[in-house]
Point group: C2
Chain length 404, copies 2
């Protein structure tokens, strides 16, 4: 039991009807769930949403770790959307929901009869949210997309990689979670407004469009140079600024050091035992050091190479110079501080326990408490009962008839 | 005048006292401003927050394009925080604010006497938000950080790059804007709650911690393999999945093609004129194609190399196969669809106009309308008058005395 986490009720009473799958949509609704909304996933009775099983998970569970990560604190009901009665159930739920959200392939939700106009007619106050790969009105509005497609067409790949190498896909799933976060902000804005006005909203975001929001520093570079922002590898145009090798030389034995500001550069010189260079005009400005980049970087690398990255980060950081060891997922998982502070929490799954990242913002000193992702249809009786007044016996009948 | 954007009033009446600088904090408060909050930047009278001038901007303006991008739709007042009367002014504003937010170096806001306990005593209902590099209680809580430091120590670099190369910094400024978005979500959750309860909240996020939220797919990989998530370049473990070269072979003449699903693979085969391979067990599953990766990728590259990336994206996308051309910032800027749809909007700056990315989520078919970032102290008379009842004449006196 981690005392650094506690259940959070900011969105207590908010009902979210969640028809999303994989990551872009689920990361959005999960953020609402962390904040205390009642998020009900509507899933296919035969297997659930594809994110449950599309990826190999830890042994002992049919559900993937991926599914746990993006569906914490939610509920699950099953509904067969190929059945008329199933569709009617979803419409009945839409009448009771504050928010409905989907990220199906273009045109699918409308073909199901659950498009914006249909749902708005049932519930004019609903916040109806859609996440797509490309925007309505874009030449590619009908195209399919996944995270990497959005990252290619949204500019993030063009600015990632070595200057003389091909574009590299950034490791973070920005096309998915990055987009989901922008939709979560928009849903919350609409909810705030609705609490006062009762007014519904139609919200739409495209993964390609969302990428521009995360590369605005690159647009600054373009504005300053008049040219498309380049790829910079892990260096920048001054020194020292980039990754430096550490002992014992493994794949992630590197540390990022950034000493552009004058005071940071002076502190670093002290650390390197080169106080003699403080104030020396050959090294005093970012521009001057940029012209001696190889020499300056060698000076730093000579020091870092003789330390492991953790020691180097401790020493350089304590000296007041911005520095960060390159940590991999296993090192992050095993670093006690994340667990002690409630950033990593443990899923109490029947096949678990599994440690996973949780919502990293603290509210009054605590992160929101993790509740495990739901089993498929786990909340059928509860949700159909509470939202629609259907008895447990009737839910069983619906199940036998293949409706739920 | 773009009809695809309109002013948005979701957070109408919400007052945000904004002591942030550079990007992590400003991206957060800007999101609130897009949604209609009154966001008032408090800036140093001599030069303003460092993001105004730390980067080379377009000619004809003292402010950087960067500043325009992260401070749209905000107001600016100047306050000298080294003056007792200046500090008193900020405290008076804090009494009138719904939200106060800062991202200064560790310990600075407390040394100014504007820490959480001090502000809460003045305004128990305030939402008090802080963005730092490392979390309170982390071994590095006192360390300085910038975007790249958080990306090194938060795992994003470890999973970006070629498998046999060094870690690469992802191009997007995820350490800054990625963190800012998580704080915006949290502030909005707290605001929603507060509208009902009047309850304030203390919110804290660390850039290092926030990075874990964006690399959860990598934690899935780790859970499946038992090993730290690797770097994959722009490929994955199946084929075709990755970037393919296009004509005429420039730095960003690439297209990402992802045909893992069976139906997508079959559609792609038709496009390549290789219907004969549909159903062929040597190519039918992702695993089978993974074992013939070089051969499968060559088949696709042979086709893409003879088209430019735009044509290739049109044709492959229209065939129902996920595909995205690698677009650079200049291509994105010049693609009319972004402007037509209100994703890119134009800043009407005295030295402008400048086209820049705006909030990419549409509300009822329109993105929030861009209002330009404020000039330094542009709203002194208005804000000190409306918030604190100070007359224009008294504001002038304060200015002469160096308080504002």
């Amino acid at each position: 039991m981690n005392e650094n986490s506690a259940p959070l009720g900011c969105l207590s009473g908010v009902r979210v009807l969640d028809l999303t799958q994989f990551e872009a949509g689920p990361s959005c609704t999960e953020a609402l769930a962390w904040l205390g909304a009642e998020v009900v996933k509507v899933e296919n009775p035969s297997g659930g949403e594809p994110g449950r099983t599309a990826f190999a998970g830890p042994p002992g569970t049919p559900d993937s770790f991926y599914f746990f990560e993006f569906n914490a604190n939610k509920k699950s009901v099953t509904v067969n959307l190929k059945s008329e009665r199933g569709l009617a159930l979803v419409k009945d739920m839409a009448k009771k929901a504050d928010v409905m959200i989907e990220n199906m392939a273009p045109g699918t939700i409308e073909r199901l009869g659950l498009g914006y106009d249909a749902i708005r007619a049932l519930n004019p106050g609903i916040i109806y949210a859609q996440v797509k790969g490309f925007g309505e009105g874009s030449p590619y509005e009908k195209n399919l997309a996944f995270d990497m497609i959005a990252q290619a067409a949204g500019g993030t790949m063009s600015i990632t990689g070595e200057p003389d190498g091909p574009p590299i896909k950034p490791g973070p799933s920005l096309g998915d979670t990055g987009t989901g976060m922008l939709m979560a902000i928009s849903v919350l804005g609409a909810l705030y407004e609705r609490r006062a006005t009762g007014q519904g909203r139609r919200l739409q975001v495209a993964m390609q469009d969302a990428m521009l929001h995360y590369i605005r520093f690159a647009f600054q570079t373009q504005a300053a140079t008049g040219q498309a922002a380049p790829r910079n590898g892990s260096r920048s145009t001054t020194a020292p600024s980039g990754i430096f090798p550490c002992a014992p030389g493994g794949a992630n034995d590197w540390i990022y050091v950034f000493a552009r500001q004058k005071d940071h550069w002076h502190r670093l010189l002290k650390l390197l035992g080169r106080e003699d260079l403080i104030g020396d005009p050959r090294y005093e400005t970012p521009k001057a050091r940029g012209e001696r980049m190889a020499e300056v970087n060698a000076m730093v690398a000579d020091w870092t190479r003789r330390r492991d990255k953790h020691e180097a980060m401790r020493i350089i950081g304590a000296a007041g110079v911005p520095a960060g060891a390159v940590l991999d997922t296993m090192e992050l998982t095993n670093e006690p501080s994340f667990t002690d502070r409630g950033i990593l929490q443990t899923v109490q799954h029947p096949a678990g326990p599994f440690k996973m990242p949780s919502w990293p913002v603290r509210f009054d000193g605590r992160t929101p408490k993790l509740a495990p992702a739901p089993l498929l249809g786990q909340h059928n009786a509860q949700v159909f009962g509470e939202w629609l007044g259907i008895s447990a016996a009737d839910v069983e009948t619906l199940q036998k008839e293949g409706v739920v």
